[in-house]
Symmetry: C2
Subunit: 337 residues, 2 copies
């Protein structure tokens, strides 16, 4: 075939803050003749997703940055128009990763064939694709919602959030969304069937969460972090689970967010979990056995900081906050045996 002219959208420079259309360029370049084993396809659908903002940075993150001057990366649904690979026939539809361009060429190892009879082809980039799996796995495997619980999701009108809330309803949960306009909130409740939706741009968050979540919040599926996460934390129930899936509130920020930046939790798939010892007395027996042995064997040394006299308790206590003591702080109130 050949003779075809490809068109692609390239990143021309790395955006500072919010990207501008001037950070991109539409360029043309020839489609190469395909070689033995290769397959040529024409893009039908290109997926646009928030994670692409991360690729535009020149910072090592969980993936390598997009290169300047080449087409931006992205998921695609394409149709095979020429094939020198037995696995693909002209006319086949495939899910691939051809990026922001009209034609793609490769040996096809990364392609997955799509059956147009199964579902609309575009679903492979959404509800039945990466955003769908994101909604599904993070909600079920980290959020672990149980029937009767309250599930809150931010960016509720978006590709992922819209699925999360609908899944929460299927699982018998109360689904509460957050979105940025009244129109989106109507969409979320009336079309998607969420129980409630908060317009976080116009409603006072604390009050709105209290009203929409009368039984507190058991699962918060977080796509945005920032102020919404802060408000949600004020309403969480005992043992709440918060899958941190996106931090879109800070993707375009040019200064670090206030307080601990939770981005590394996402990038490193890490976990913070609150601990109160009162929940852990079922470990008492193992603890006593292990710790007693370690102390006996000298593997654990015990240091105490003992203050004499009950009247000195207040001053000793204050020392805990000015870093005075080393080891366990005790007051000896009466003579020890």
């Amino acid at each position: 075939m050949s003779g075809l002219i490809n068109r692609g959208v390239t990143l021309t420079n790395r955006p500072q803050g919010t990207p501008q259309t001037s950070d991109f360029a539409l360029v043309e370049y020839p489609v190469p003749e395909i070689r033995e084993g290769e397959v040529l396809r024409r893009t039908v659908y290109l997926s646009l997703d928030p994670y692409m903002r991360g690729r535009m940075r020149d910072v090592a993150s969980y993936t390598t940055p997009a290169a300047l001057g080449t087409p931006m990366v992205g998921g695609t649904v394409s149709q095979v128009i020429e094939s020198k690979n037995e696995a693909f026939a002209v006319g086949d539809f495939v899910l691939g990763y051809d990026g922001w361009q009209e034609y793609g060429v490769s040996t096809g190892g990364e392609l997955r064939k799509l059956d147009p009879a199964h579902a609309p082809l575009s679903y492979a980039l959404g509800a039945l694709g990466m955003p769908g799996l994101t909604a599904y796995a993070a909600l079920l495997d980290i959020g672990k919602p149980k029937a009767g619980e309250t599930v809150v999701v931010s960016a509720a009108a978006g590709a992922v959030g819209s699925l999360v809330g609908q899944m929460a309803r299927i699982l018998g949960c109360r689904a509460v969304g957050l979105a940025g306009s009244d129109e989106k909130c109507r969409f979320v409740t009336e079309e998607l069937g969420f129980d409630a939706c908060i317009n976080y741009k116009t409603q006072p968050l604390d009050e709105a969460l209290q009203e929409s979540c009368p039984n507190g919040i058991d699962v918060y599926y977080d796509n945005v972090a920032g102020a919404i996460l802060e408000a949600v934390l004020g309403r969480i129930n005992l043992g709440a689970r918060i899958p941190l899936v996106g931090l879109i509130s800070q993707y375009n920020a040019t200064t670090p967010p206030a307080g601990p930046n939770l981005m590394p939790l996402l990038v490193k798939r890490a976990l913070i979990q609150g601990f109160l010892v009162v929940d852990h007395y079922h470990r008492e027996e193992a603890f006593q056995a292990d710790m007693s042995r370690w102390i006996r064997e000298g593997a654990v040394k015990v240091y105490e900081d003992t203050v004499e006299g009950l009247e000195n308790a207040p001053e000793a206590f204050l020392g805990l906050f000015s870093g005075k003591n080393v080891g366990k702080l005790l007051v000896q109130v009466s003579p020890a045996p």
Copy 2:
């Protein structure tokens, strides 16, 4: 017996910011005659712990606030001096919760007998008591350290931190502490055997963590939150675990900390976990089966926002950050079948 005069330290007003000795008063009051079933004991050791600061607030937290004008709450080791309860004999040593006072009276249901031959009695308030179980259960059950990993602990010279690092060493991990003075750091490395200790008051945190944790951080046992947590997050490894056990950096704060206040995570024993879909393709099969069925049955509705023409991709992409789209954003690059 009776005729005894009790002495106690009461909270006279709720501290604003850092507590002062003037927030406490030493008071005397008679010890009552004990009734049938009761046991009278004399306090030998009183435990002083950071959690007591929380009890001084008049805010519903995970426990009720300490009452003004009555002795402050606290764990105690005591000796029975009079008993009208068969379960306890004069001379017995018991672990209890008599608070900041010299004598305690109760029916004894909350007491646990201590064997002075097993370990020094004071250990029941430290290494073999609540702080010990806190170190043990949070490190093992949330931190889940594996041999060869790096465990970082803040307040490393304290009652809990000193045990955490020693346990990390027993488990074959690299143990790195943070403490507030060079003297404490020497104690932590030379006496407790940690591999390294950072003086967070004098050393630049980012550089010091990089130097002390050349292989990154797998477990961060957090007793303090705040700036140290922020710095640690910059060095965590894939799949890191962070038991949030204390937030001592903000216990005396009079204004909220910058950014999301993580205190509710502790109070509610909640979990935040970062999620990237790339780790979850083992869920692909279940996801495709469930989501396809939900769509087919109409339980999940799919909404798409489709923009025509590759040349419109940049503007459509920018819309993701200004809240323009609803549902899955796609670019139709060539005609769909």
